[in-house]
Amino acid sequence: MHDPVIETASLSRRFGDKLVVDDLSLTVPAGSVYGFLGPNGAGKTTTIRMLLGLLKPSGGNIHLFGRPSRDITLLSRIGALVEAPSLYPHLTGEENLRHACILKNVLKKDIARVLAIVGLENDGRRLVKTYSLGMKQRLGLAQALLGGPELVILDEPTNGLDPAGIQEMRHLLRDMPVTHGITVFLSSHLLGEVEQIASLIGIIAAGRCQFQGTPDELRARRKGWLRIGVDRPHIAVQMLSQQGFEATHDPAGHLTLPAADPSAAASINRLLVERGFAVHAISHEQPTLEEMFLHITQSL
């Protein structure tokens, strides 16, 4: 595993009485695409604003590239897009990028490179007020990529994009660590979106980190259940209970055995058949990642 580019320890932030971020410890290794997931109001944007120095933490600390985040020079190694891109509509796309170039102390020639990356090379001379939302979002990403940052922090980068725009953005972000050597930290409230591009996932709910790991580790947490179609289900439930299996049945006559191992299916089937039950269906089911995400975030 590479050295972390972002490391927070017991990070917290309070607004009045409300604890919006609570004891948050994140580790984002270099070269990863880190999906920072959580429902609306979970504390994602507050965390990102703290990472960028826009808000001060109430407690805990933040290290970027191994150094305390208070050092403003670290921002020159980071490209950021916080919520919607904040562009100047009376300037052209190129002028907006030139403005960022000046502030980041980046050569003007980099403008053509980043416009090409986001596919806006033919629109740079148009006023930004004539851009579609998707184009603005891409220009915002181009701005974040100016100067070849080592880390880009993107807050809900696909907000307001149509499906085609979302797909384009997804391709751009997924390839960044490989093609440009950039670590990507992106927040989203949509697991489906993050799942496709993230090499690491952090789930935050009610300000606290609920999970941090790879998508495979999240999948491994899934506990499935056996679903069995059988006649006389209420009697079958009693019988299975006497045999030490926890089972319930629904009105449609299906038995559900939670947290059962798929390998248990054969022995339970044999037991039911031996006791004279007619088994007409048997399946092992698992929750989708989306269901797990909802379970994690809504159970608080």
């Binding site: 607004f15 604003r49 120095g53 403003i72 980071i78 897009l81 904040s86 100047y88 002028e95 000046i102």
Partner: protein
Amino acid sequence: MIFLRTLAAELLKLRRTLAFWMILIAPGVVILLNFFMFHERSAYYIKQNRPLWDALQKNSFVFWGILMLPLYLTLQTALLSALEHSEDRWRNLLAMPVPRWALYWAKLAIPCAMLLCSSAIMSFGTLLNGVVLRILKPELQFPAPLPWAAAWHDTWVASVTALLLLSVQHWVSLRFSSFAASASFGICATITGAILINSQKYGPWWPWCLPAQLMSAKPEAVAHALWYSAIGALVVAVLGTIEFWRREIRA
């Protein structure tokens, strides 16, 4: 170096803005009004038998100093700040690797430069008024040597005496995201200034009255206005920088 970079970025943002054209429009309106006043009421000014250049310049700067300049700076600072307040552009601007003091001072330097340019346009436009009136209204008999020294004097005195109100207005417009709040503050302060202008007690201390001190016959009143404005502007700018440095950008 970092300040110059930030200033260059701020200058770039002026393109195609109303704020940029206001540099010309605000003094232009006063110059035109003054021109028509002298053109239409030439008999009155001949009868007054006052030094004509002095009358022309005083006329211009009374209107400029008491009303137009404070309103102009109110509008300019509000328009410039609105560039960042709109769509909460602060969140990405302040995530740039630029110290906040550089941003605050670069943003202050822009209206200061605008103030200087507009005051110069005002002074030298007034001279142009006299030259044109000399042709169109020869009976006014504007004397031959143009009062260049007075024009330079008016330019820098008007600029320096307006620094304090500019510094206050700059902080207010950066502090409050509402354009209406910033504009209302400036308009109320200007009206208060117009009321206090003749007060010996309060007038010299009310920042919005200071530019009108340019008209004062007493050199000590002008000197007071210059020093008070310059030092006051510096103090307000330092306090504003500290507040801006500590400001949080909330969602």
